[in-house]
Symmetry: C2
Subunit: 148 residues, 2 copies
């Protein structure tokens, strides 16, 4: 069941996950997109700013997107289409074997200025690891069709 802008309300929350980050996946993502010492091996990471192997923040962002598609965002008609990101923070690194969950909250809603058939919701998504530590906070504006 898809939802429209008109079905949503400020304060609604949505949950997704868990998704486990394996060591192999962490390293494979880094080799492709973020080949830096802290993401490639325990040995190389030891002398990095982190001192240990940690996931690329972009891997955390991509995994969070997967959780958004799978339930951590409203099941919007037309899919989750980002108009833009207002902020991303990574307060705690993601480590090999971490189990992530995501929760989103609608912070704000407004009709589109240019398109009568669309609205925008501001969605804050908090990603946590298995200990409850926040590994990512992202605030995004999502395009949502209106009932016409």
């Amino acid at each position: 069941m898809s939802v429209f802008f008109d079905d949503l309300a400020i304060g609604q929350t949505f949950q997704g996950g868990p998704l486990t980050v394996t060591r192999d996946d962490l390293i494979a993502f880094a080799e492709r997109f973020d080949p830096q010492p802290q993401h490639l091996s325990e040995d190389l990471a030891r002398t990095s700013m982190f001192g240990e192997l940690v996931a690329s923040g972009w891997h955390t962002a991509a995994l969070t997107m997967r959780m958004l598609v799978d339930g951590a965002s409203p099941r919007v008609e037309g899919g989750v289409v980002g108009a833009g990101i207002e902020e991303i923070r990574w307060p705690t690194p993601v480590r090999p074997g971490d189990q992530l969950t995501a929760e989103s909250e609608i912070l704000d809603m407004r009709p589109s200025r240019s398109r009568a058939d669309r609205g925008l919701i501001k969605l804050k998504t908090t990603t946590k690891n298995q200990t409850g530590a926040v590994v990512q906070i992202i605030t995004a504006n999502i395009v949502v069709p209106r009932r016409v």
Copy 2:
């Protein structure tokens, strides 16, 4: 040759790419991280908000990170470590076969408030396709070691 905070200046620019986005890579990324109609096949995309197959914005962000590591950011001692993202926009979709380039500019610099051995640079990275259209703008704060 690695650089330190003290070696950098507001207004410096850095170039990276080109990187080509193949159709197979575009779909493989989406199947894993952003399995939505507009990213999975031409057929499914036709009735989406985009009307054609386009890359996930997170794929564009990840490819831009690769270009940052490979030269589109200063070669900072300790690597490119994001303290956080201030903004991401995706003004034009990335399509199969697009050839991307990235250019970064240091917008601002400040010493860390908490750590005398670190500074922060605000780096704006503009990613363009082969026609010169801007596909992504990202503004990030990057942690940079100071000479001690």
